[in-house]
């Protein structure tokens, strides 16, 4: 594929990845082509082991694609970079730094002057509801609070693109609803291009401007659904669950995902025994 100049923020062209195992190479993903517009919130759902995380790691620059190219702002991605922030599921904020110093870490690395740094940190502490917890250490926080810190740290560094790998999957169900609403608000307040991985259909439809559905391993993108976001008034779960159009879309996405899961149960067991984690 040629690297035509585009206005897209991210272009994935002919991406395919293999992992080397003791039994030879294993195909982690099928061929994936993908474009993400600037300011777009794209969610990706798919069965576990389909290669979602592999794609995200390639976008982050943590792994070199076996085939194909990834562009960010028309430049080939060759490694991690400050313009692409990552939020992990867990275990990412540093236990020996308090909330304030974790959130300001990216700015510290970028050598932003202290006064300016503290202003941005303060703003994000307020935006993410961490006021009053500034001097706490991660082990003194709940799982939900820790993920707030991780999100705030990524936003504070002000990257153009934010990659999120099931960031709320390890949080309890009630907290998760709140965090999802807060993320929607945070995105409305800041202009970011977000690529968000999940295995929850509701989460994908609630948050995304566009939902991508992946096939089972080796995963390819089998469907794209645009979410008519403007019609949805408030970004909260009460509105979402009572909006018949949204519920219709969610059902449609669920059917697409379930079609992949039907045959996956035996398949998945076999693959996981080979010791490969997507």
């Amino acid at each position: 594929m040629s690297a035509a100049i585009t206005t897209d923020k991210i272009v994935v062209s002919g991406f395919r990845h293999f992992f080397n195992t003791a039994d030879g190479p294993v195909q982690a993903t099928g061929i994936i082509d993908l474009k993400i517009r600037s300011g777009e919130f794209v969610t990706l759902v798919g069965p576990s082991g389909c290669g979602k995380t592999t794609l995200l790691k390639a976008l982050a620059g943590f792994l070199r694609p076996s085939e194909g190219t990834i562009y960010c702002d028309n430049k080939i991605v060759r490694g991690p970079g400050r313009e692409r922030g990552v939020v992990f599921q867990e275990l990412a904020i540093l236990p020996w730094r308090n909330v304030r110093r974790n959130i300001g870490h990216g700015l510290e690395i970028a050598r932003v002057p202290k006064a300016e740094r503290e202003k941005s940190v303060q703003r994000l502490i307020e935006l993410t509801g961490l006021t009053g917890f500034e001097d706490r250490y991660p082990h003194e926080l709940s799982g939900g609070m820790r993920q707030r810190v991780a999100v705030a740290r990524t936003w504070a560094a002000d990257p153009d693109v934010i990659l999120m790998d099931e960031p709320f999957a390890a949080v309890d169900a009630m907290t998760r609803l709140t965090l999802q609403e807060e993320l929607a608000r945070l995105c409305a307040a800041t202009h970011k291009t977000v690529f968000f991985i999940t295995h929850s259909v509701d989460e994908a439809v609630f948050l995304g401007d566009r939902v991508l559905v992946m096939t089972r391993r080796p995963g390819t993108i089998k469907a794209e659904i645009e979410i008519p976001r403007r019609k949805l008034g408030g970004r909260d779960w009460e509105t979402f669950t009572t909006d018949s159009e949204m519920q219709g879309i969610a059902e449609q996405v669920l059917r697409l995902v379930r079609a992949e899961r039907g045959v996956e149960s035996t398949e998945e067991k076999r693959e996981s025994s080979a010791g490969i984690v997507s």
Binding site: A60, R82, V86, E90, L91, A92, E140, R153, T154
Partner: protein, 275 residues
């Protein structure tokens, strides 16, 4: 309202008498095993009426301790031992921690060196003494080499383990915040491995202290090992026991006053490292 005042009631200080008694009780709990040991020693000495060349009384040991310290003899022996262990500790940290880092970062090096480091741990510092004495003679250098050797292996090993135990996400997240290699080491791997390095230091000091005493006994160039081994040739039981008491006491002091505070500072403040 009554609920709100309850914590205040609990925070009320105990009567002064009880507080002092509590402090004494804690001191007694700590000293009790020592008191029992001394009592048994004294009882054995009195019951069997051992001659002075076999066993002396605690009172006699105390007198010797006072006399030796008044003449500045003890200070001389103690400072020799302490300066060697201090010098060996600093050297082992300066050399051992970087080696542990290099090995910890390289999965293949870590795997191949694991057995080798265990082997070295088996060949204790004392077992090297004959060779080192041939090479370096009966000198402080010999003692120092043996102590550094003993100290550095657990430091390398635990640094390596600590580096490898740092969750990968810490480093990945920081790299996507723009961190370079040096930043990863100072902000992620060094603090992440620190509790494990302190464990290695603590183990190493324990092994190193024992190796030091043994080496001093053979090298005979001063130090507490020299003190007790020298006293054996002239049959001064009181001196031997004074030396032994000092060896134990100094180790407890170094461990409690130096290493444990560092351990508390790192581990307690960061909480459980994982989750």
């Amino acid at each position: 309202m009554s609920i709100a005042t309850a914590p205040h009631a609990r925070a009320l200080p105990l009567p002064i008498g009880l507080r002092i008694a509590g402090r004494y009780l804690r001191a007694i709990k700590f000293l009790l095993p020592f008191i029992i040991l001394i009592a048994i020693w004294w009882a054995v000495k009195l019951a069997r009426n051992f001659p002075e060349q076999v066993l002396v009384s605690p009172a006699r040991v105390w007198d010797t301790l006072v006399v030796l310290s008044e003449h500045g003899v003890l200070a001389e022996y103690i400072s020799t031992s302490l300066s060697i262990i201090g010098y060996a500790t600093v050297t082992s940290l300066v050399i051992g921690v970087p080696i542990g880092f290099v090995v910890g970062f390289n999965r293949y090096a870590a795997r191949s060196l694991e057995a080798f480091l265990r082997f070295l741990q088996g060949v204790s510092g004392i077992a090297w003494l004959p060779l080192v004495i041939i090479w370096c003679g009966f000198t402080h250098t010999t003692t120092l080499i043996v102590v550094i050797y003993t100290l550095i292996v657990p430091i390398i090993f635990n640094t390596m383990v600590g580096v490898r135990a740092v969750p990968e996400n810490y480093a990945l997240a920081l790299r996507s915040l723009g961190a370079g290699r040096l930043r990863l080491i100072t902000n992620v791997y060094l603090p992440g491995a620190l509790p494990s390095i302190v464990v290695g230091l603590r183990l190493g000091m324990g092994y190193g202290w024992r190796a030091l005493i043994a080496a001093e006994m053979l090298v005979r160039q001063g130090g507490l090992g020299d003190l007790i081994f020298g006293a054996r040739t002239s049959g001064q039981i009181d001196r031997i026991i004074v030396g032994m008491i000092l060896i134990g006491t100094l180790y407890v002091i170094v461990d409690r006053l130096l290493i444990q505070p560092i351990e508390n500072l790192t581990v307690a403040r960061w909480g459980v490292l994982r989750k």
